[in-house]
Amino acid sequence: MIVAGLRRPTSGHVEIDSVPVTEPYSSLGVMFQTDQLLEWLTVTDNILLQARIRRLPEGQARARAEVLLEEAGLSSFRQFFPRQLSGGMRQRVAICRTLLHDPRLLLMDEPFGALDALTRDRMLRFLQRTWLRRRATVLFVTHSVDEAVFLSDRVIVMSSEAGAIVDDVPVVLPRPRATLTRSQPAFGTAVARIMSYFENDDD
């Protein structure tokens, strides 16, 4: 919220490209824990909301929405309303909306937290696929260590104490990462290192 420029920090400050954040960064894409689709808009219109608010040219945005929908495997659902879709599909629509204006910075706050394990795994691969094509900076908040290691180049571990950073773990694994990546030693090492900080919470 603070990085997105939606709330002011109680102390300290945030900079993006050395510019202090006082309002939402111009090339920003935000995803929340729930998809936040507007139920009176079709899938396409929900995605185009990004363009309409930003007053981007309609034709270009429409063409781009088509491409994204194709990538998300949702082309045949473009005229559906959100309540006609499953949770995973809704979240994919939300990703398309987030990516419509090709943002340089993506902020994702546990976007897949509400999904079941298999759908979640598909979303991770989908996100990676789209990311490989665009290479934006992604700040991804999650409670899933697996998700963190699978997606990230760098995992910053925070303790339950508000705002305290306990470690900064680099993840050196080739991309694209797939299900098999999880069996590589580097994956296990990273997971173990991160998990070690939470073991002590027991006592």
Binding site: A4, V30, F32, L49, R52, I53
Partner: protein, 274 residues
């Protein structure tokens, strides 16, 4: 073919038994009304009930036909007062509701006054309005407005309060202005509640216009009803009651229709949950 019947057409092919259900939904209420009317007619005929105690349905129908030109102009008068009162009440209630949703201070300051204005029985201030604004159109419109205003305000305030903060954050992260946030998020979220309020307000507006006509008027269904009652012309009294009901029902369903056009997602949701 209307949008609705086409939808039902598809549904009946899909579900088979749906056609019977649809028939039931439309035909059943009319059938019940018909039975009530037949029993009423029979009781009056068999019991030899005099017209000045309880006129039969056919007598009421005859009275409507016989007095059609006078009753038509009365209906237009009362309908006009109702509609104008309702329209102005909406025009006043909505900006106040929006103001409340943006300013806690405004809400704290003005809300008690609004509630107080509702606590005053309208019947008690109706004579005052007649005194101030005359026996014509204006006083009726103001009474109708005063009654109809409250439900629209309360429901619109409630609707605006249901807007999820995350949705506002979402469009704000896109760099939306307050106006864009209102148009794209707040207003659509509040519309279903707004319409619920206007539906209640529409029936109250009819009552408001009627109160005004009872207290002092020279035309209108309420005026004719009182006069007919004094002359023991009960068939005409019932004729006025029938027309008042028709007026109220027509207004109500006109708003339902408008709602379906403006917020189709809300009525679809209601139908899906049935």
């Amino acid at each position: 073919m209307t949008e609705g019947s086409r939808r039902y057409g598809i549904a009946s092919r899909k579900e088979g038994a749906a056609r019977a259900t649809v028939l039931g939904r439309w035909a059943l209420p009319w059938l019940v009304i018909l039975v009530v009317l037949v029993v009423w007619q029979a009781v009056v005929a068999i019991g030899h009930v005099p017209d000045f105690v309880l006129p039969s349905p056919t007598a009421v129908l005859h009275s409507i036909w016989y007095n059609q030109s006078e009753l038509w102009s009365d209906t237009l008068t009362t309908g006009g007062e109702t509609l104008a009162g309702l329209a102005i009440s909406v025009a006043i209630a909505v900006p106040i509701a929006v103001g409340f949703s943006y300013s806690r201070l405004l809400e704290t300051a003005v809300y008690p006054l609004v509630v107080a204005s509702q606590a005053v029985p309208k019947l008690a201030i109706a004579p005052l309005f007649i005194l101030w604004f005359g026996v014509g159109f204006q006083s009726k419109l103001l009474i109708a407005m005063l009654i109809a205003f409250f439900p629209t305000l309360v429901n619109t305030v409630a609707g605006l309060a249901t807007v999820p903060p995350e949705s506002v954050y979402l469009v704000r992260s896109m760099g939306a202005s307050e106006w864009q946030i209102f148009v794209h998020v707040r207003m659509p979220y509040a519309l279903p509640s707004f319409f619920a309020g206007v539906k209640v307000a529409s029936t109250l507006a009819v009552i408001g216009a009627l109160i005004g006509e009872f207290v002092g008027a020279t035309s209108g269904l309420g005026y004719t009803l009182l006069e007919a009652n004094a002359n023991l012309q009960l068939d005409l009294v019932f004729a006025c009651i029938v027309l008042l009901s028709v007026l109220g029902i027509a207004l109500f369903y006109a708003i339902v229709l408008l709602e379906r056009l403006v917020v189709p997602w809300a009525s679809q949701r209601a139908e899906a949950s049935r």
